[in-house]
Symmetry: C2
Subunit: 336 residues, 2 copies
DNA sequence: TTGAAAGCGCTACCAT
DNA sequence: ATGGTAGCGCTTTCAA
């Protein structure tokens, strides 16, 4: 492994000069610079970023810690973050907490000394104590969660508003018995969406105890929920799933069960992942601009790192909008 | 930022002892260890992985360089890689070459000193000179590409076999005039798939000059290809798209144009991204176990790093299988 | 403009 | 079992 010292020796200069030349600093004569560059090329020198990071006390890398790497939601999110980070010439270090609290702490700690800051999407349990982490002083932006004590800067989608919109919409399109498939109780968004659902159903349909099935936001749980529901024999005319993955699955299951989606049975989701536009009928959902969510978080973090942003209380909330598609075309015989 | 030196001082021991205790080595008395741990906790000490990496000459991190972070293919791939890497207690550093050759080189170099090895999915142009990279000695596994000079270990899906299977299948289901939407010419898989398509069509249908439209594997190009095709007035009864993203789009466009997918018009893709199962009718495609592709690559890299694998010539090829769904149910009036 | 040398925070070797 | 110390590869004062 060739080091800068070898390059310096080969070029017959000191490491200091070599370093300057290779970093494109001005105070190096043209001829020395050329000698050094030639030597570097001859030896196939590639700088060791690890060492560089250590001396410069910065890594030009930002860490991202997500509960999972699975599915389009995260894919889109990472894409947004990458876009922002890459535009600034920085790199992305990806951590995965795999949902567990312990792994989250571990993941955060593993980032120390390897990144300049963190974008993190913590489960609720972690969010509450996040500012307690030894890394407290560490630049950190929280995604879609209630920051513990409200102290950490955050970016989030207004889940409550989004869920209210979509439930309201279902009602307008004729739904009277709406079932909700919720996300995991450890997830802040899941709770917000469920709460909003209950509120609207209670207020508009006078139903204080609607059916709520517990899902987990992942593949498999939409289908499972629907099959439980069908077995139970409950009557219902619409399903509002906590996210699109479950909604799309629910839609497929209901179609298989013989319902005409959009006319006999309305289905809606949340997130607006790309998939939602491609299923047929298209899935009505809450468009939350996932890549933008990531992009905003990254920008905020970069500002934080540069010191151009206070490290407290900056909460950005994205207000989502409805994406209306065929899955809520309208219940055929509107019953009052 | 609290360092190990401060912890040592606080505990009244040397840094050496502190290091041992904190790394769980055996040769430390119980009492000293406790003193040190207490001191570390009191000071909120978090080890600096960057420095650690430097001394240990290893990072326990593997780098992944992809042409793009967009879409389900990469999402699934990363998921597979993560699964393997995480199982070994290591971390993932994500690089994005954004398709350009220059950025790829840059991305590779930026990894030096920050990762123990690289999984890379290079465009063709880069693949050929990859082993020339100064990082040559660096553990590296190539994904889905022809490794330059065939020297680098690789994992890939047998695109040719997959494409042959699916084209054959289209013919069996009655297709006689098959159109191909290809991927970008810079992509090895794209070329393999197109070649296989041409071969089968020539052999089985005696058509030496089938219609091939150029796409780019990304959103938008499936639709564009179909609209060009429809405008041209060409007759055709089946579309084989180079990947699922384009196939799904093509399917939607054709449906909008009034074709009954599966009976009047057959459509097939390649990859089997999750989306393919959810569209309706389901998309017939080549199932290539994307996560497994990533997992195998990661395992191979880890073996390489550990030195339990030679660094040359190890090529793993995954043989894909057909996933038959509604989009190729069968042409209604089978013409000979 | 150039060089010498002091670290960055940590681990691991060699003594004790 | 513990401590002293020499690096890991690089950047960056400070002098010359």
């Amino acid at each position: 492994m060739v080091t800068i010292r070898q390059v310096a020796k080969e070029a017959g200069v000191s490491v200091a000069t070599a370093s300057r030349a290779l970093n494109g600093m001005e105070n190096v004569t043209r001829s020395t610079r050329e000698k050094i560059e030639a030597a570097a090329a001859r030896l196939n020198y590639v700088p060791h970023s690890g060492a560089r990071n250590l001396t410069r006390r910065r890594t030009d890398t930002i860490g991202v810690i997500l509960p999972d790497l699975f599915g389009e939601f995260f894919s889109e999110l990472i894409r947004g973050i990458d876009r922002a980070v890459h535009a600034e010439g920085k790199t992305l270090l990806l951590g995965n907490m795999h949902g567990s609290q312990q792994e989250t702490t571990q993941a955060i700690r593993a980032m120390r000394g390897r990144v300049d800051g963190l974008v993190i999407m913590p489960p609720n349990s972690v969010a509450e104590t996040l500012h307690t982490e030894p890394l407290g002083a560490f630049p950190m932006v929280v995604l879609n969660a209630v920051p513990g004590g409200g102290e950490l800067p955050s970016v989030s989608v207004d889940s409550r508003a989004g869920a209210e919109m979509v439930v309201q919409h279902l009602i307008e399109r004729g739904a009277r018995r709406i079932v909700h498939i919720s996300g995991p109780a450890t997830n802040h968004d899941a709770i917000e969406r469920e709460t909003a659902f209950r509120n609207v159903v209670c207020r508009e349909l006078d139903n204080a105890d609607p059916i709520v099935l517990t899902g987990d936001f992942c593949e498999g749980s939409g289908e499972a929920a629907i099959s439980r529901l069908l077995e139970s024999g409950e009557r219902f005319d619409a399903v509002f799933a906590g996210n699109d993955v479950m909604a799309v699955e629910a839609m497929a299951s209901l179609r298989d069960a013989g319902y005409a989606i959009g006319s006999e049975m309305l289905v809606a989701g949340f997130d607006d992942i790309p998939l939602s536009r491609y299923v047929s009928p298209g899935l009505t959902t809450v468009h939350s601009e996932i890549p933008r969510l990531g992009e905003l978080a990254a920008h905020k973090l970069l500002a934080l790192i540069e010191g151009s942003l206070a490290s407290e209380g900056q909460a950005t909330v994205i207000r989502p909008r409805l994406a209306i598609r065929g899955s809520t075309a309208g219940l055929a015989p509107p019953r009052s």
